[in-house]
């Protein structure tokens, strides 16, 4: 603003910051962190940090992609199982057909892009809700994963990636560790940060970012002003598929074997992380940083309960309570920021 407008109440910097969706989530994250840091010394140690950041990283990568998709007004329930599919393709090609790890990864990427493209194409062409379309993909991929794995190996997993060509380099890049402050941190954390930064840039500073908000906010209106809505949505599904491929590769390289049921059930964790981070389920609103912080909140609560040593039978009870508290903290902060007058 160049000149002050008499119709604007003065607002402090803090309140202007707190009003942003992602910063509300950050407050939730602080609450959860402070809580568990008080419960367990290991949790707040560098060692503990490296530990709970590790699963938060893979979750975060997916949550960011899913957040973009949700801002664009769609769901992808097949994203979790797709991490398994890409991992399986990669391991099978590298171990059974003697491809190098890199070539196998490229092939898996191609498959992921195809699946994402098909998801998107079916959604925009048939106008069926993406919830149903990707649910079907989810179920079908789940069957393919198990059926093909069984047919090829006779068991429910494939392994032996360690012996494949290029394994060491690929692992160092995607699934290795970096010593820092006396502990080993997973490189996946760096990928997570990079993905979040990239997604934030795309969302807030590029044309496709503007289109994503628009198709999620009101697809008809967006189309009417010339936004290529179909292309945007298909691209979003493909982005999610690429993220699934990245996570699938990270996991496969790390464990050198992939189970046929890997990734099942994760799809909702991604959505949960995005929603905790402030994405609307109805589309058109949210942020990549928020989704990342949501993944962190989920990761902290999930591991914090273990660090605190609470009874495992009650694990999900505590998890639910923590999620509710974190989102409530987030909400109250934002409400304070929006409503208190000075």
């Amino acid at each position: 603003m160049t000149v002050a407008d008499e119709r604007l109440a003065r607002t402090g910097l803090t309140r202007r910051l707190l009003i942003r969706p992602e910063l509300g989530a950050v407050v939730g994250a602080f609450v959860v962190f402070a809580f568990f840091a008080g419960q367990s010394a290991t949790f707040r140690s560098v060692d503990g940090l490296a530990n709970w950041l590790d699963p938060a990283a893979t979750l975060g990568i997916m949550a960011v992609a899913i957040a973009l998709l949700m801002i664009g007004g769609e769901f992808d329930l097949s994203a979790g199982v797709l991490t398994g599919t890409t991992g399986l393709i990669m391991v099978i090609l590298a171990t059974r057909y003697g491809l190098s790890v890199w070539t196998a990864m490229l092939a898996a990427l191609a498959a992921a892009l195809l699946i994402g493209f098909l998801n998107g194409l079916i959604v925009v062409r048939t106008r069926l809700p993406s919830f149903i379309v990707t649910l079907a993909t989810f179920l079908m991929l789940q069957g393919v994963n198990l059926g093909v794995t069984k047919a090829l190996t006779g068991t429910v997993q494939v392994g032996g990636l360690r012996r494949a060509e290029g394994y060491e380099e690929a692992r160092a890049l995607l699934a290795g560790t970096v010593p820092l402050g006396g502990t080993d941190f997973r490189v996946a954390i760096a990928w997570w940060v990079a993905v979040t930064a990239l997604a934030t840039w795309v969302l807030t500073r590029t044309r496709p970012g503007n289109w994503i908000f628009a198709v999620g906010g009101d697809e008809q209106a967006a189309r009417a002003v010339g936004v290529p809505a179909e292309r945007t949505k298909i691209a979003l599904f493909m982005t999610t598929a690429v993220a699934a491929w990245l996570v699938g590769s990270i996991m496969a390289l790390r464990f050198t074997s992939v189970q046929a049921n890997s990734g099942i059930g994760q799809e909702f964790v991604y959505i949960i992380a995005a929603v905790i981070g402030g994405c609307l389920l109805t589309g058109g609103y949210g942020s990549a940083i928020g989704a990342s912080v949501g993944a962190m909140i989920f990761g902290m609560a999930d591991k914090g309960i273990v660090f605190a040593g609470w009874d495992a039978d009650w694990f999900t009870f505590f998890l639910g309570a923590m999620l509710l508290l974190a989102t409530l903290a987030n909400r109250f902060v934002r409400r304070y920021a929006e409503e208190v007058k000075r």
Binding site: W52, G159, A312
Partner: protein
């Protein structure tokens, strides 16, 4: 037209090496309390299907962890008038009605794995294998012998009866403290970090028991990452687990020889159908527990890769 499908049965299996037994006719349903893709039950399935091939009969395999849905599967098999039903009874109470219906329809039933105590009462002709409880006890005793006093039992599916029984058995066998941890088998990075978190925050834990081979690999990494000296035992095999046993990273894997829990009941049912033979005389036929350790890992390795161990 209904030329194909299970209800017609009796399609001749391709390449059946049925030299030993005369080709029999029949459809047999195996209905377990585990969903498709479970590592343990997959071997049972392989055993049952191999037996079916061998005898030239049709074997269908279905499974569901929800007792309601499992009982519906039994009802369906009864509707299809199969020639025999193999069922694992993790929750005998819930299956009582459905099994009773099968028996009333004069369909022979064999129970496997769990529910042996009720097998006779419900009218099954025999029981094969023993309960998860016994297997768990064996694992607990083995860990106790290794000096484990405080054990972490990693449950990868909360509320699953079979897993709970394994942990309960281990508690009895160990005699010491057993703590539980819930992880998600669909996300191994998460499982690794949870096991590690538990070991980091409670250094007095000196043993870990996992109930699934994939989780065993995760636990192995977690123990190494946490710099813990905890001993690791697991249920069930995979190529990775066998390799880890060979390398001394995993002490043992409980081996119920569950392949037999698939193979034997089909054999018994075929015999019953053709010859009215019954086996065991009302006593359960035990298939284990056996253990895969460093000593026999080498031999088992190849078999585990083929999905028969």
């Amino acid at each position: 037209s209904s030329g194909r499908g299970g209800d017609q049965g009796a399609t001749v299996p391709a390449g059946a090496a049925n030299a030993a037994a005369p080709a029999a006719e029949g459809t047999f349903a195996v209905i377990t309390h585990a969903s498709a893709g479970d590592a343990f039950w997959d071997v049972v399935k392989n055993g049952a299907e191999a037996a079916g091939k061998r005898y030239g009969v049709t074997v269908t395999y279905q499974g569901d962890g929800d007792p309601a849905r499992q009982s519906q599967l039994i009802d369906q098999a009864v509707s299809q008038k199969v020639d025999g039903i193999v069922v694992s009874m993790a929750n005998p109470d819930a299956l009582k009605e459905a099994v009773g219906k099968a028996v009333a329809a004069r369909i022979p039933v064999i129970t496997i794995n769990s529910g042996g105590d009720f097998s006779r009462e419900f009218g099954a002709i025999t029981h094969v294998g023993q309960s998860e409880d016994v297997a768990g006890r064996g694992a607990g005793e083995k860990l106790k012998a290794e000096g484990v006093t405080k054990l972490l039992c990693v449950i990868h599916e909360a509320g699953n009866v079979g897993l709970d029984q394994r942990c309960n058995g281990a508690t009895k066998g160990l005699g010491g403290t057993v703590e539980r941890l819930q992880v998600d088998v669909g996300n191994l990075a998460d499982a690794t970090s949870k096991i590690k978190a538990r070991l980091q925050s409670d250094p007095s834990l000196n043993g870990v028991l996992t109930l699934n081979p994939a989780v065993a690999v995760a636990a192995r990494d977690a123990i190494a990452d946490a710099g813990s000296a905890a001993k690791l035992g697991t249920f069930d095999l995979s190529a990775d687990v066998v390799a880890a046993i060979r390398d001394g990273e995993v002490l043992f894997a409980v081996d119920q020889q569950q392949y037999l829990q698939g193979w034997l009941p089909i054999t018994f049912l075929v015999l019953y159908k053709e010859n009215l033979n019954t086996v065991g005389g009302g006593l359960p036929v035990n298939t284990g527990p056996g253990f895969v350790t460093k000593d026999n890992a080498e031999q088992v390795a190849k078999l585990a890769e083929n999905g028969t161990r």
